[in-house]
């Protein structure tokens, strides 16, 4: 019997078989499980763990956090500088306040020094951490594929 003949014969025989019927216990079991799940988890999605949120809410929250981070990174210093410039132009500050502002600016400038020094190193280590994470995820995936257990389709 050729490949095609065998394929057609088995196909015909299998498709002629009636669909197996679900056991009569399935519906009551499902409804019992549904009732238990509904009783156990009455909280709305936003009060549950983030991983269980609806996909749209997850995407929206990620986008919001990302935008907020970008805004904080790029815009806040510029906005602060602009606001300070406007304020200093519009308000005649008393001498003591002016010196206080100078002192604050000095503190801020000093606080930025470590960051200016560490920034290249931090970027390097950030990339390194990202690469290490990728290697770990890939290894984990490969390990699971190799050591998945159960039926092997290979």
């Amino acid at each position: 019997m050729s490949w095609t003949d065998l394929e057609q014969r088995v196909d015909r025989e299998l498709k002629a078989m009636p669909q197996p019927e679900a056991p009569s216990t399935l519906v009551p079991n499902v409804m019992r499980a549904v009732a238990a799940a509904a009783a156990a988890a009455p909280s709305p999605w936003y009060s549950r763990a983030w991983l269980t949120w609806p996909r749209m809410a997850q995407a929206a929250s990620l986008a919001f956090v990302l935008l907020a981070a970008i805004a904080a990174w790029r815009e806040v210093p510029a906005a602060w500088a602009w606001a300070m410039g406007e304020a200093s132009a519009a308000i005649t500050m008393p001498a003591w306040l002016s010196s206080l502002a100078d002192f604050g600016a000095l503190v801020l400038a000093l606080a930025r020094v470590p960051w200016q020094i560490l920034q290249p190193i931090a970027s390097y280590y950030g990339l390194l951490a990202l690469a290490a994470s990728l290697v770990m995820v890939t290894s984990w995936y490969a390990f699971n594929r190799l050591n998945a257990g159960g039926v092997s389709f290979r």
């Binding site: 078989m17 019927e21 216990t25 399935l26 257990g149």
Partner: protein, 175 residues
């Protein structure tokens, strides 16, 4: 009609579809019932979306297939390990004779034949039964099955062919 009543009607409508898909992939009625229950719990979580949707049967079949493949991959490790240790007759010649006759004797020859074929299908090893079920009952191509199972096209064709030969032997014995 309340949501719960609507969902119960939904389960009643699709229970056989889900169970049949699961039992043909898993080869075990008990495990198929467990997986079916999980499928319907997932459906309940998304009932607002899929409850009245015409794509509900397709969604249910897809979820059932993926859950069954996960089940086979994850939860049969020990079972498979020991069963393969104990298996001493890999020859396919004994397959047809080893298929158990149905527990209750069916009244007609056709029903007996169907029951024997169903038993034979369930008794196939997972790596043959799963691609056969995906090909003949789900209508998937060899390429789709290879992609779904993460194996080569040649492996899928070989496994399906060997499974078909085993089923043919059973049919020849019955006929």
């Amino acid at each position: 009609m309340t949501d719960v009543a609507r969902f119960e009607a939904f389960v009643r409508e699709y229970q056989h579809l889900v169970f049949a898909t699961a039992v043909r992939l898993l080869g075990s009625a008990a495990e198929a019932e467990d997986v079916s229950q999980t499928v319907f719990l997932k459906a309940f979580e998304r009932f607002d979306e899929i409850g009245g949707s015409p794509s509900a049967p397709g969604w249910l079949k897809t979820v059932t297939t993926h859950l069954c493949l996960n089940h086979l991959t994850r939860y049969r490790a020990r079972w498979q390990f020991f069963s393969e240790l104990e298996r001493d007759d890999e020859g396919e010649g004994s397959f047809a004779e080893n298929i158990a006759a149905p527990e209750t004797a069916p009244p007609t020859q056709t029903e007996a034949r169907i029951a024997r074929l169903e038993s034979a299908l369930r008794a196939l090893p997972d790596h043959q039964r799963v691609p056969i079920a995906l090909f003949h009952f789900d209508g998937r191509s060899y390429e789709e099955i290879a992609s779904l199972l993460g194996v080569s096209l040649g492996k899928v064709k070989t496994d399906i062919h060997r499974g078909r030969l085993a089923l043919k032997k059973v049919l020849d014995v019955v006929d």
